[in-house]
């Protein structure tokens, strides 16, 4: 197990290097720092001097990959690639364009993001699995057809509609909870409730339909027929046998997401004014603050790879046949 984990982490290194090079190419080679400076300064104030000054302030006044003028190790380290991109391997994300430390922002904003994303994920998963199980129980009846049609309808509605419609209905018409904002501590419940409910409803269509098809795949298998043949009641068959075996394909899709919950949801957070990582990213995109976007890309891919490792580990927990070596 330990050996497996170490190997997986070593596998992650080339992938992270790939991500790093890709973002570096996107942000610095396709567009030179001069272009960035021009964008940031606006059309009016562009002079060669002001561009130089902006680059110097933000540390972009170095060669891209190789510094020919420097000596020994500095040839590699005194470059934009080393200073801006490679440093992220040490979780050193540098500063955003307005001079704040990105790492500090990430740690403070993680809490609110999780406060929304974690309940949404857990409640959503439970609701979707139960709904899918009910549909599988009543398979090939009118109830099943109606349920699946309902799922397709829910899937076809834009996520933006759930947020805008829900905000309007609950906060403006019924005046139940505040429309947006966030507070820490026990008071946060009022602010978290609506985004969580909307997130659950928005995700239920696609996931229930998917889980239902997984359950139906399992129900068609031989061991289910055996279980029925020996006289087990349908509920026992569903919960003891089908649900347990269906967990394997469900886990493949679900566990990968767990680490990414830290990143928060872009749409929900920006609509509800929650100071999490999602709204941080949106603000950075709107302000064209490339250092933040770059940091978030790197963080995201790191969490994704963590998710892949977690998926493998979770297999061993639900499926005793799987051994990680």
């Amino acid at each position: 197990m330990i050996a497996y984990l170490i190997r997986r982490i070593l596998y992650a290194v080339p992938i992270l290097i790939g991500v790093n090079l890709l973002t570096f190419a996107l942000f610095f080679v396709v567009n030179t720092p001069d272009d960035m400076a021009r964008m940031q300064l606006g059309v009016k104030r562009v002079t060669p001097e002001s561009i130089e000054k902006w680059k110097q302030q933000h540390g972009y006044d170095k060669p891209l990959m190789l510094n020919k003028d420097a000596s020994a190790m500095d040839k590699i380290t005194d470059t934009i690639f080393w200073q801006k991109s490679a440093r992220m391997f040490a979780f050193d994300f540098g500063e955003s364009d307005d001079g704040r430390s990105i790492s500090r922002e990430i740690t403070t904003r993680m809490g609110p993001s999780l406060a929304i994303a974690l309940p949404t994920f857990i409640i959503g998963l439970m609701v979707a699995i139960s709904f899918a199980l009910i549909l599988a129980m009543f398979r090939a009846t009118a109830f099943d057809i109606a349920g699946v049609s309902f799922c397709v309808l829910l899937m076809s509605i834009s996520g933006l509609f759930y947020i805008i419609g829900g905000q309007f209905l609950v906060s403006k018409v019924l005046h139940l909870v505040p429309i947006s904002g966030y507070a820490s501590g026990p008071d946060s419940f009022r602010f978290v409730l609506l985004p969580v409910v909307i997130g659950v409803i928005g995700g239920i269509g696609a996931s229930s339909r998917w889980y239902r098809s997984i359950f139906l795949d399992e129900i068609g298998k031989d061991y289910v027929r055996t279980a029925r043949a020996k006289g087990l009641p349908e509920l026992t068959v569903l919960f003891r046998h089908v649900l347990k075996n269906a967990m394997i394909p469900i886990l493949t899709g679900v566990v990968v997401i767990i680490p990414l919950l830290f990143m928060g949801s872009l749409l929900t957070e920006s609509f509800f004014g929650i100071p999490g990582l999602g709204s941080y990213t949106i603000d950075a995109i709107n302000a064209q603050d490339f250092s933040i976007v770059r940091a978030m890309v790197f963080l995201g891919s790191m969490l994704y790879i963590l998710g892949l490792v977690l998926t493998d580990i979770s297999y061993t927990m639900v499926d005793p046949r799987v051994r990680l070596t």
């Binding site: 076809s156 834009s158 749409l267 994704y304």
Partner: protein, 463 residues
Amino acid sequence: MSFMPEILWSDGLVFILLAALAVCAWYVRRHEHLLLPWRRVGQNATATVSLLVLSLFVIVGLLDSLHYRAALPENNTGETVYTPEVVSVFDKLVQPLRTQTEKTYSAPLAITLYAKESITDAQGNIMRDYPRLQFGGAHLSDVSLHDTDVFKRALLGAMVGLLIGLSIISLSLILCCVGNKDIYTQLIKIISRRGALIVATLIIAAFIGAIANLASVYHVLGTDKVGQDVLYLALKSIRTGLVIGTVTTLVTLPLGLLLGIAAGYLRGWVDDVVQYLYTVLNSIPSVLLIAAAVLMMQVIIETHPEWFNNSASRADLRLVSLCVILGITSWTGLCRLLRGETLKLRELDYIQAAQAFGVSSMRILTRHIMPNLMHIILIVLVLDFSALVLAEAVLSYVGVGVDPSMISFGTMINGARLEMGREPMVWWALAAAFGFMLALVLAANLFADAVRDAFDPRLNRAD
């Protein structure tokens, strides 16, 4: 010539896709075994109805993809000069919707503006009231007749639409029955089998008739902040959504197909490289990757203003590049599926036999493996379509979608979002955008389901 055709990048790509689709359809028609699953799709009532809805959307989208520039009135030098404004055939067809703009907000079917203004009446008195619209309901001299007029026009339009629908149906029924000996039984057979489609056609025809008749004198879905007709905006958005949903496949398909099959069939280092590529791309959160790429695209467009001779081609290039970016970020799913399936197929006996006979790899791939992957490709592409249409709205909201000057569901929602906070509320622009999007995506999803059911080999069928 009184106009000059203008082929934008996206237009060209749309018509290339259309041609490719036509070639595929012609090929499938000639091969009975390929036609069989499509027959199954055709027997599914939901699938045919959703296909009808989809094709209406596609017709609007295609008409909106034929762009041209009109000629300006003759000047004294004698040479024809064209306006810089690029319009489409669809714009020309719904000319009144496009040009009859009001001052600002007005509710659906309204004859007055949405907010009170100071009006000077004939006697010179100034009072606060709702001013009449310039175009919406301008034919009405008596305001009290408004409701009856709306009702009458809707009814008349629905009647005409119903008649047109009936004539289309009877025409196609006649075409189906021509040359058949027992016309009566044939007719009954078709009607009983196509009942849902016939009813849906009639309902949609009546609906379109009513809307069209109302739209000639009213703003059926109201007007937005600058007085543009919301119905027109929603109809224009269809093309943007369709382009994003379809042109993206031009990127995903070659990438996913080539890399997926190569990885699965050749294995070894090719497989390693392809797997590495898609893990790297997958590991970056897709919205962020798209955002990063679009931001970069924006900088490039901004620094090269000399590439574009008008604003339409600029917005269009951004649309095409968005499609390319979406394609580059979304080919991984298709690639992974095709790789897995190819890995499975290459171990089957008939492939081994072909290899033993010394058939070249190229021929094995094209003759034996590709045809067995087609159902996966089709299912994935159809399912991706609706996801892409929905993604456009989200991306435009985040600010990394289409050009703000391009009419799309995303820009409509983005513009109308803040109006929800107004008192009294302006809801129609949002409702129109979400409604049209729901119709498009729902039809696509239902159709995709039918396609998957018909093509999925796992579902064994007796027939």
